[in-house]
Amino acid sequence: MAGKPILHYFNGRGRMECIRWLLAAAGVEFEEKFIEKPEDLDKLKNDGSLMFQQVPMVEIDGMKLVQTRAILNYIATKYNLYGKDMKERALIDMYSEGVADLGEMIMHLPLCPPAEKDAKLTPIREKTTNRYLPAFENVLKSHGQDYLVGNKLSRADIHLVELLYYVEELDPSLLANFPLLKALKARVSSLPAVKKFLQPGSQRKPPTDEKKIEEARKAFKF
């Protein structure tokens, strides 16, 4: 029997969290090896485990995969969360990339010096309510189905719902005018595997706070 996938990353959300969500939603158990000191990262680099000297890295099916998108694409294909044909896949990719763009902006916020944070927040809020959330709300409205693509759960729904949790953490009022997105969030959250992942004690990581960033800065010298 194949071993569980092993995730190599820091003990925090960063670029690995969307992979954790996708595996969890697919009902796939996984192990994690946390990089806690520079020596841990050096060891991975020195034994040739990191193709481009970067994490995330996921050991799965005899491979050591890097590049977040490549990893997500592989997992989505393997667990049938990538649509039924090329055209559905294209829509799923388009939606997932939009989620990733907003997600990236929100991910970088904790790294801002406090003085700059407010300045960064304004365009993020604006893009959330004027560009990204309306786009997804309109997709759901246009077909009236329960999921974004092909009337079936796909990675696009999982990535979007993960993002909606982050938007809510930022400011719950941002979701106010998007009833279909709220319904999607509730629907996906109640799927057994997702519900389990949302409970305390799961492998889901908490928001990245300033204390954690400081620790990481000291340990990894950036």
Partner: protein, 222 residues
């Protein structure tokens, strides 16, 4: 008979260039509409053709696709350039994602103030020489085959050639320590569809200059 794909973008490389390369390499004729005025851009947005209000936009097979990677993935699959199974596909994705990251750094550098631009471009050359090119040199050395994945021409080969040429424009000596990449460059450049694309008069675009930057700033009101 299917209509030709139609590309909507500025009259320059930016995020569309990898898409042009892929279509050209696949021997697919395509049309281009160039965004030269704010009005054109606003019309595209108002007509609801830009899911997230952004270009690149590619009209293909009855779809209006945005998000560079979604478009590239669709085209790679459509033209059989994405591997024969998920394990080949994931390797192609890993390689393509790495090279795309590198090329986007070059595209974005054009919009920075002169000093930062110099720094960014120097960093691109450094990353190419120390992080990316050694990996690809080793891949070619380890399997001794003509192409990066599965002994067959794929999207990964097209992206790598595009990246090599782009970095060479910044530093002509960048391949001096990579003999297999030099051979690879020659070999892939001689593929008839690519050879044609590399000739003057093709739809390949020149490196970004101040005129291009100004045109983009004008249309996007940056």
């Amino acid at each position: 008979m299917a209509a030709k794909p139609k590309l909507w973008y500025f009259h320059g490389r930016g995020r569309m260039e990898s898409i042009r390369w892929l279509l050209a390499a696949a021997g697919v004729e395509f049309e281009e509409e160039f965004l030269e005025t704010r009005e054109q851009y606003e019309k595209l947005q108002k007509d609801g053709r830009l899911l997230f209000g952004q270009v690149p936009l590619v009209e293909i097979d009855g779809m209006e696709l945005t998000q560079t990677r979604a478009i590239l993935s669709y085209l790679a699959a459509k033209y059989n350039l994405h591997g024969k199974d998920p394990k080949e596909t994931v390797r192609i994705d890993m390689y393509a994602d790495g090279t795309l990251d590198l090329m986007l750094m070059v595209a974005l550098a054009a919009f920075k103030p002169p000093e930062e631009k110099e720094e960014s471009l120097a960093l691109v050359v450094k990353k190419a020489k120390t992080r990316y090119f050694p990996v690809f040199e080793k891949i070619l050395k380890d399997h001794g085959e003509d192409f990066l994945v599965g002994n067959k021409f794929s999207w990964a080969d097209i992206q790598l050639l595009e990246a090599i040429l782009m970095v060479e424009e910044l530093d002509g000596s960048v391949l001096c320590d990579f003999p297999l990449l030099k051979e690879f460059k020659t070999r892939i450049s001689n593929i008839p569809t690519i050879k044609k694309f590399l000739q003057p008069g093709s739809q390949r675009k020149p490196p970004p200059d101040s005129h291009y930057v100004e045109a983009v700033r004008n249309v996007l009101q940056l």
